[in-house]
Amino acid sequence: MSFRISDQPLDPERLKRALGRDSAGACVCFEGWVRDRNEGASVRALEYEAHAALAVKEGEKILAEAREKFGLDAAAAEHRSGRLEIGDCAVWVGVSAAHRDAAFAAARFIIDELKRRLPIWKKEYYGDGHSGWINCLTGKSGAEAEPPGLPRSLNRQL
């Protein structure tokens, strides 16, 4: 298994060692960290919720696509679940390939696809005590104000 969901801190040095191959001349690793601001709001902490079984399945699929598309020697990734503090590593992606062009492009492809396709949700806890699920209209105060029945935002996209 080269994709994992982990409820424990990620260890980039350990993860990177699994990428070593005699044929590899380039290694690119990406780390996504928890930062203290998002869209102007001060962030204290984050919580990731994942559907682990489906996330692992989809994550493996994305890594396999990248190996094929970019001719990689190795590819691996890990994503956190649970509560994280500022500066923690939330996601790690690593690839090795014969040359750097393929390695850079593949790392970018993998992180973009992970963000788009994995069933993982992020809740931010803000400095003012509020919290909210990122990217979701459901649960936002605007949605509460909509009339009962089919919400406008749903109607529009049906």
Binding site: V91, W121, W133, T138, L154, L158
Partner: protein, 80 residues
């Protein structure tokens, strides 16, 4: 009418106030069931931005649902 189980995640679970429920529905597809539940629970996210799984496999909104299925509703994802 068929009996199915709906499961909710993240913002949908918070909004519905439960992580799953047993339902009897006239909905024939995952999308029809979502429309029904969005009206009941006030889910405000359009289908184009959400995902659905039937019996632990990713599915399309047009996927037919059958007696005994478990349908998982995923609000817009935010990994990374």
């Amino acid at each position: 009418m068929i009996a199915v189980t709906a499961r909710y995640f993240a913002a949908f679970r918070d909004r519905a106030g439960r992580d799953s429920e047993a339902l009897t529905t006239g909905a024939r597809t995952a999308g029809e069931l979502y429309a029904e539940l969005a009206a009941t629970h006030g889910f405000a996210d359009g289908m184009a931005r959400c995902k659905v799984a039937v019996n632990d496999e990713f599915a399309d909104w047009e996927t037919p649902i059958e007696e005994g299925d478990t349908v998982l509703f995923f609000p817009p994802v935010a990994g990374g």
